[in-house]
Assembly symmetry: C2
Homo-oligomer: 307 residues x 2
Amino acid sequence: MKTSFEMQGSARVVPLPDFLARARTLVDTQLDLLLPAESVSPTNIHAAIRWSVFAGGKRFRPALLLAIGETFGAPRDSLMATACALEMIHTYSLVHDDLPSMDDDDLRRGRPTCHVRFGEPSAILAGDALLTLAFKTIAEDEKLTATKRVGLISEIARAAGTPDGMVAGQAYDLEAEARNVAAEELEKIHRLKTGALITAAGRCGAIIADASAAALAAVTDYAGQLGLLFQITDDLLDVTATAEAIGKTPGKDARSRKATYPALHGIEATRKYLASTHAAACEPLSRIDRPTDLLRAIADFILEREA
Amino acid sequence: MKTSFEMQGSARVVPLPDFLARARTLVDTQLDLLLPAESVSPTNIHAAIRWSVFAGGKRFRPALLLAIGETFGAPRDSLMATACALEMIHTYSLVHDDLPSMDDDDLRRGRPTCHVRFGEPSAILAGDALLTLAFKTIAEDEKLTATKRVGLISEIARAAGTPDGMVAGQAYDLEAEARNVAAEELEKIHRLKTGALITAAGRCGAIIADASAAALAAVTDYAGQLGLLFQITDDLLDVTATAEAIGKTPGKDARSRKATYPALHGIEATRKYLASTHAAACEPLSRIDRPTDLLRAIADFILEREA
């Protein structure tokens, strides 16, 4: 990865993997401070929360928020709480999606899922607690004005809920499992289920940084395409990767008749679609009057990712 | 019920049942506006949400918020969004508590529970959506300043989450089902599982009305005891009432070895505890420099309730 960018407050230029590793460390440190300690009662639920949050996730949504926020000049500490809140919501969605009555997944990132390790009731409660804690975290973030905080909560709640967010996407997905879906519908499912929260991550970074309306619109387009790119690579990895590389049983989505791009279009057409989506993600960057190397590098990184 | 109070903006004096009926109509009307219509896609999840929210609930938490808010002079329309958000959170907690892996209840308020009617995945998602929508509703309430909105979201998130709220109470309760619990622990479970959100309802009413710190402290004590009163009558009704009156299978809690006051102390001692809790709820009202007839009537109403 040759693309590089300047780290905030320094002239040093570092490559994307270093930015991602740095973002991950920052986010993990902050999450550790924000989540109840495992020693705090009721210990079982706090252990379940931490098991799920610290399961080796890539922290993609927080990293995207940090990258966009810093691109537009927001101080890093103004971005951390919202970045962590997004990761809490992402984690809650994984915990609830993995439940026996939903996707019934026993393994995630190479480890037993929350309900396998802590039982189904604790997994349901851990998800509920994470969703609640996410909004508390933003509401209590003294680094931001109250006006900004309510704007961010509104943005994220819309992206996480229904009819325009993640819960709606999951509801469509459940419906779709029972039958064949058209390409158009698959796109809608992905846009809501994965895309909405990724788009919100980008938008929140721009909102915290007081980006202009035009910049916010460009970020929205960029992050929206990035979310789609992310989902297509996910689907492809499910077909082509080994269990070791992706940390779950490959081919599971395909076997369970879950709607995926490769199942619908074949692998070759999916790869072409991937390339055009990557181009569509990079196009809006030309409308941003700031150095966008980092944001382009993120799009490249998703295109080329192996897990 | 002889206690009466003045309706806001009029000299007319109305009895408590009329206030409760009026509050319920106002809240139901507002909830209908705030929740996605059943005709909006994905329709299944919106139908599940509305099935659960419009299941004949008493709207006790919203009514308490309205009563306290109006006691301290808040305009009614400044109270409605937060009142509805509390009911959404209360409903989400019922939907998730009723799930097969939790309390496994098939019947609530005389109707099939959400997962029985719509399936377990939709019930999980409906709960998730309601929790999300609750915070969105407050964040977007233009009747309140942004500062007040973030204060309310923080207050409610703490009361609904863990370690000091409803999710923590539910986690303790799950733990307790497996063994005998001491009286002290039962009190803690109830304080978190039921009391925290009822206390938050009272506090939010006072916060919206800009009540003094002393008044807020009195309201906190009052609502805290009210929550306990509510739980004790709930436990008693489970033992003494008929299925028709309470809309669920009576004795279920006792049979499933769930910790209840009558199971721990016997019915007579529980009735005495009920009376002393009622007195403890009314005591703080003397510290409030406003007419508190309505708040006293609410305590009486819970003491004497039959369902």
